[in-house]
């Protein structure tokens, strides 16, 4: 039987999960997906083709970040639904990005770094000294224990801007375990709830069921929720880091060692983190 509609989802690393969830919730729709990297690459190469291609869909679901690229005028599309990407640092206040002369520095968890490790390296500490900094006193000095409440406020303001009331789902996400694998990789349940709201915004009634898509982001990097942070958040903690694409864990010691090795390749002077993390980074520096 031919589906009634064709939808296209364009978002970030959450695209595939969102697409799968939307498909599950909309049996009468064919849902296709293009993440931002694919979209940017293709639309840059042939913007006219992509503009025409977008018009072939009954509904485009996308984040503001995609619109802001200015590659396609989505306002001409039959129906456009905005979907907010989920970003939440409450479980991972130590996570940051590090750049050297504008290019991302890679750790075993790719773009994800530890503020404590980075700050320790910048201060000229040894790896052993850095390891000793992972404790409640340092986390408190860095404002880590306040991040859950602070970032929840940011997240809800973000949802408000998109017109999504996620208060009740959020309470369920946070009920049992950390609902984020990293600060921008949510569990599939979060994307499912988002997709449910997006479905109603697209003018359809979601077909809810106990079924859930596979949690594809679980196969990617998993940054641990440190025990001290976890206890304050009401979830179980860990100091084990999961590498992307493999079921392989690194200890904190291994992660710090690998981070230091990466930093040594550049030298402290050219390394910096972004504005988003500067507050906690500076607080950690001051506390060391």
């Amino acid at each position: 039987m031919r589906d009634l509609e064709r939808w296209m989802v364009i978002a970030n690393c959450q695209t595939q999960g969102l697409s799968n969830c939307l498909q599950l919730l909309n049996p009468g729709v064919t849902v296709e997906a293009s993440d931002i990297w694919h979209f940017q690459s293709q639309a840059t190469r042939d913007p006219a083709h992509w503009a025409a291609h977008m018009m072939s869909y009954d509904c485009i679901l996308l984040s503001d970040e995609i619109t802001a690229l200015g590659l396609v005028d989505f306002s001409a599309c039959p129906r456009v639904v905005r979907i907010p990407p989920i970003g939440f640092a409450g479980y991972h206040p130590d996570l940051c990005y590090v750049y050297a002369e504008g290019k991302g520095v890679q750790t075993p968890l790719d773009d994800y770094h530890s503020i404590v490790a980075f700050a320790a390296f910048k201060m000229g500490l040894t790896e052993a000294d850095a390891l000793a900094l992972y404790n409640a006193r340092m986390f408190e000095a860095g404002g880590y224990l306040d991040m859950w409440a602070i970032d929840k406020g940011h997240l809800f303001a973000h949802f408000d801007r998109y017109g999504y009331d996620m208060a009740a789902p959020f309470r369920q996400w946070a009920m049992r375990e950390s609902f984020m694998f990293t600060l921008n990789h949510p569990r599939i349940e979060c994307l499912y709830d988002l997709a449910r709201v997006a479905t109603t915004k697209a003018g359809r009634t979601p077909v809810d069921s106990p079924a859930r898509p596979h949690d594809n982001l679980r196969n990617a990097q998993i940054f641990p929720v440190y025990p001290e942070i976890a206890e304050a958040c009401g979830v179980e903690g860990s100091t084990l880091f999961k590498v992307a694409g493999q079921y392989r864990l690194l200890s904190l010691q291994e992660f710090v060692h690998a981070s230091f090795e990466a930093y040594r390749g550049y030298g402290a002077d050219v390394l910096d983190t972004t504005e988003q993390f500067k507050g906690r980074y500076n607080a950690i520096l001051a506390a060391i």
């Binding site: 404790n135 009401g234 860990s238 100091t239 904190l252």
Partner: protein
Amino acid sequence: MNPYTNLPDHHFWRRSVSNVDRRDFNPVTATRFTISREARIATAGSCFAQHISRKLSGIGFNYFVTERGTHLPEAERAAQNYGVFSARFGNIYTTRQLRHLFDAAFGRWAPAEQAWQRPDGRWVDPYRPQVEPAGYANPDAVLQARQAHLHCVRTMFEQCDVFVFTLGLTEGWFSRVDGAVFPLAPGVVAGQYDEGKHGFTNFGVAEVEDDLRYVLGLLKGINPGVKVLLTVSPVPLLATYENRNVLVATTYSKSVLRVAAETIMRETPWVDYFPSYEIITGSYNGGAYYEADAREVNHLGVAHAMRAFLENYVPDRRRAAAPASSPAARPEGYNPGKVVCDEEAIAQITF
């Protein structure tokens, strides 16, 4: 306009429970006193109180311990049950036990049964049968240790600024000779059960309230500035002697204790009730604060309760400097020390 109009949010389930994130649930609406970090805080009660003790010292409070076991190397004291509570009394499950302990500490009462023999020939104190893992050589040694212990108990009651008591059970075994209540039934780890000498009781509200009034009245007399915090243990009974399902018996027991705590709090201005029971057992958390056995409270529940305690009772909520601990000293799978529970002894021998 109706009587509920303009009431604060905490009066309403939707506003203060179901629409609140689990970790932010705070059922304390007002406190009768605040607690400084310097205040000498003494703890006693059931197994759950051990979590409170451990956490207090871990977060920089002045956990008041009068029986420290300084004759032992520090590494051995915990194993010998020093520091588990403010004095080495073991678990005080019932208010009757507390009443007898208070009277004994101030020389007003001495139990008829003074020592029980274990199957291995060693002797124990019937009122704290598991505090000395190796037991004592003879009844005189038991008595001697008990006298030293009671001296420490007296000091605790006389000098503490805050006394935190966790009400645990209403069921207990008593001596038919003098009414002394044992934390464990005779014969479980030591002693001999004798139906002529021992009986079972399930204390009711009136009895629990009377015990609390008695102890608190005397306590205030010898320590006029003391404040008391009552809590009810959220840990279900490991076993009931009543012929009913243990969960049904648990509900009765906890209800009695909760009512008694409320009554005493309402009639005594220097007594407050801290709702750790509600924090742990409340439906809002979907059982998240129990271990897999649905009975032991997990560290997340303890942390939540202590968070609420700090937020509500401590005027200066900045944490004391927590001791630094390197990951090397805290291996993956870190678990706080095992809680010692006399009640567990029943499961080890019977189930």
